[in-house]
């Protein structure tokens, strides 16, 4: 365990050092992560204004709060492992990683976290700026904030494990982009990104509850906004825990199969 902590610390250090070398690239990535929720914010605020001031219980100020928090949550749980895996397999750099006496997911988690550390100040500044412009209706109580922390950590872990598992597709096919597209569409609709789930039609909401994506983005956002009852919060935690276990099991299996395939067809 101490060895693993040491590994995370070192990976974080090198990760931050590497990220700082590419401040411009990082900044461009961040602009994307800021613009996307901003667009939805503007659209939904306008729509709610023109349809009597509220849709699905969200007024313009609620949409502002929802999307500003969503922007931060999305940033916190965001990964790019799919591109990374695709690159590793194509460039053959995966072999060196496979020779390390430690599971490669640890390095990936640490690298992801290090980018979050670097981007945090910018995201907080962006959130503050948007708050000044859009006047979000945000009242955070202590217990909501307290429950938000584990919800966010679980959301990060579930999203990371799910996307890491999907990224393993790079071991099997050179057409990973298509798989990524499908996944991104699913995230867009079922995570609460394109619209708060309360606004979506009932069948979509049911599907979203079953799939993991809502629990990785929408759930922590709604929790912090105080839109969930204590019962719903507990259900959310249960769903997150369940998906964590399922994702871990699938990942373990898929990882073994992928490496086996890799070592059969040529590393």
């Amino acid at each position: 365990m101490r060895g693993l902590v040491d590994l995370y610390v070192q990976q974080l250090k090198t990760g931050v050092a590497s990220m700082l070398q590419y401040r411009a690239t990082l900044f461009i990535w961040l602009i994307g992560n800021i613009l996307e929720p901003l667009i939805y914010l503007v659209v939904w605020s306008t729509v709610s204004g023109s349809s009597g001031g509220s849709i699905g219980g969200y007024a313009a100020k609620d949409f502002a709060a929802y999307y500003i928090v969503l922007m931060l949550v999305n940033q916190a749980t965001f990964t790019w492992v799919m591109y990374e895996f695709d690159y590793r397999i194509r460039e053959g750099t995966f072999s060196a990683i496979l020779l390390h006496p430690v599971h490669p997911i640890h390095a990936d988690i640490a690298e992801n976290l290090s980018s979050k550390v670097v981007s945090l100040p910018i995201m907080v500044a962006a959130a503050a700026g948007l708050s000044v412009i859009f006047h979000p209706a945000l009242k955070i109580t202590l217990w909501m904030a307290a429950a938000f922390v584990p919800a966010l950590v679980l959301a990060f872990l579930v999203r990371f494990l799910v996307e890491w598992t999907i990224a393993l597709a790079a071991f099997w096919t050179t057409r990973v982009t298509a798989i990524n597209q499908i996944h991104f569409m699913a995230v867009l609709f079922f995570s609460g990104q394109i619209a708060p789930l309360a606004v979506l039609p009932y069948p979509l909401r049911v599907v979203a509850t079953i799939l993991p994506f809502r629990w990785t983005i929408g759930f922590p956002v709604e929790l912090l906004l105080g839109r969930l009852s204590p019962g719903q919060v507990l259900t959310g935690f249960a769903a997150q825990a369940a998906w964590l276990i399922v994702a871990m099991a699938i990942l373990k299996f898929a990882w073994r199969a992928s490496v086996k395939n890799y070592s059969a067809v040529g590393a």
Binding site: T14, P101, V102, K260, S263, A264
Partner: protein, 402 residues
């Protein structure tokens, strides 16, 4: 049981000089002793200058004869560090003719074909040996190295490295080996090499004291001090290779696979890397399997070479024997006054410059031709030599099979 138990002592220590201990000679960092020699051995180690160094795993019982990493201790029959038996690897590849029509056809039906990259290779490496692994491009060298290091699953045959099955990629196995593949980087591109080293320390869980000592040693041997603080992307190819090798050896692997460690480097740097590999092997007793297209590497480092071609073993033995076996010719260099005389009757004239004439003659004819040359001509100087090793290797590679 003839030998009682074996004990492991002082793992991770490096012995600068071979050390005589009772009936055992210690020449690398893991040592096996009989029960009754143990006390004497431990006190001898303490009295020695090595006493300052840490002794680990003291009195740890081991199975007789297994995992002994030193050659010839107590005359035990040794387990090979690396053992291949009939190793084979077949790749299945999809084939496609060029052009649109073929592209469309391949959507419906893919033609698969099998490529035998490695085809039944067997050899052993004793602990501490440095062996040159030779063959033309595409002979199956890299595929074999990848199987040995656990990256590839063999299609057939048996394989063991330090008594592990490589493809299972046991963590204990991975901690004891390393694979250096040409330009492929261990190092993080954008940060100084020193930070990459630190990362490898964490990845391999190298104890702080060991890390410090090994790093100091590597820095001194490879002259890394001025490079440590520069981002890796700013290093020259040779500098990067030195750092790459250092990063790969920080965990003191007992088995080292080197795939073209000197490729693309200038002669000075090649010599430097070569000297380092020899020194590393001497200090740690690590087993080294090395591929290279530079015969100077092989000549300097390896007494024994294994040659493969088309995935099959072509030769396994001493470099000198390879030359004997594969050359039917010798080169006779005669120093004459000028190049006026026509000497084609004596053998194949390779060149003549300023009276320095090079003749190629069948090996069996050497003595007779030499005698005639000396008798017939005003010879100032005469030397007989084997053809250059490059030429021999070229000939070996030109053969289909033995």
């Amino acid at each position: 049981m003839p030998f009682g138990h074996d004990f492991e002592l002082g793992a991770r220590n490096i012995l600068q000089e071979p050390l005589q201990l009772g009936r055992g000679i210690v020449n690398c960092h893991t040592v096996a002793f009989r029960d009754d020699d143990l006390v004497a051995a431990v006190s001898a180690l303490r009295d020695n200058e090595l006493g300052r160094r840490r002794m680990e795993g003291q009195g740890q019982k081991r199975q007789h004869g297994r995992d002994s990493n030193c050659a010839n201790i107590l005359g035990m029959d040794e387990t090979p560090a690396i053992r291949l038996r009939n190793l084979g690897k077949i790749y299945r590849v999809t084939e496609r003719e060029p052009g649109i029509r073929a592209a469309l056809a391949s959507l419906v039906h893919r033609r698969k074909s099998e490529v035998r990259a490695v085809d039944g290779i067997s050899f052993d490496l004793a602990p501490g040996e440095i062996v040159g692994f030779l063959g033309p491009n595409g002979a199956g060298k890299t595929t074999t190295l990848k199987m040995l290091s656990g990256l590839l699953h063999p299609t057939s045959g048996d394989l063991s490295v330090l008594s592990y099955v490589p493809w299972k990629r046991d963590k204990a196995f991975l901690r004891q080996i390393t694979l250096v593949m040409g330009q492929r980087n261990q190092l993080v591109w954008d940060i100084p090499a020193a930070d990459s080293f630190e990362l490898n320390r964490a990845i391999y869980r190298i104890p702080a004291a060991d890390y410090k000592r090994t790093l100091e040693e590597l820095v001194a041997l490879l002259d890394l001090q001025p490079l440590l603080g520069k981002p890796v992307r700013n290093l020259s190819l040779g500098e990067r290779m030195k750092c790459e090798i250092a990063a790969a050896l920080l965990h003191r692997p007992q088995v080292v696979f080197l795939d073209e460690p000197t490729i693309g480097l200038d002669v000075t740097m090649q010599r430097r890397i070569r000297a380092f590999i020899a020194e590393y092997n001497r200090r740690t007793g690590a087993t080294v399997l090395l591929t290279s297209h530079y015969m100077a590497d092989v000549e300097a480092l390896c007494r024994r070479v294994v040659v493969i071609h088309h995935g099959k073993l072509l030769f396994d033995g001493e470099l000198a024997d390879l030359v004997k076996r594969f050359t039917a010719h010798k080169t006779i260099v005669v120093q004459l006054k000028d190049c006026a005389a026509d000497l084609r009757a004596y053998g194949e004239v390779v060149s003549c410059e300023d009276g320095r004439l090079t003749l190629r003659v069948p090996k069996t004819e050497t003595a007779r031709v030499t005698e005639r040359l000396l008798a017939d001509l005003p010879v100032i100087d005469l030397t007989v030599a084997d053809p250059p090793i490059e030429e021999v290797i070229e000939q070996v590679f030109a053969q289909e099979s033995l």
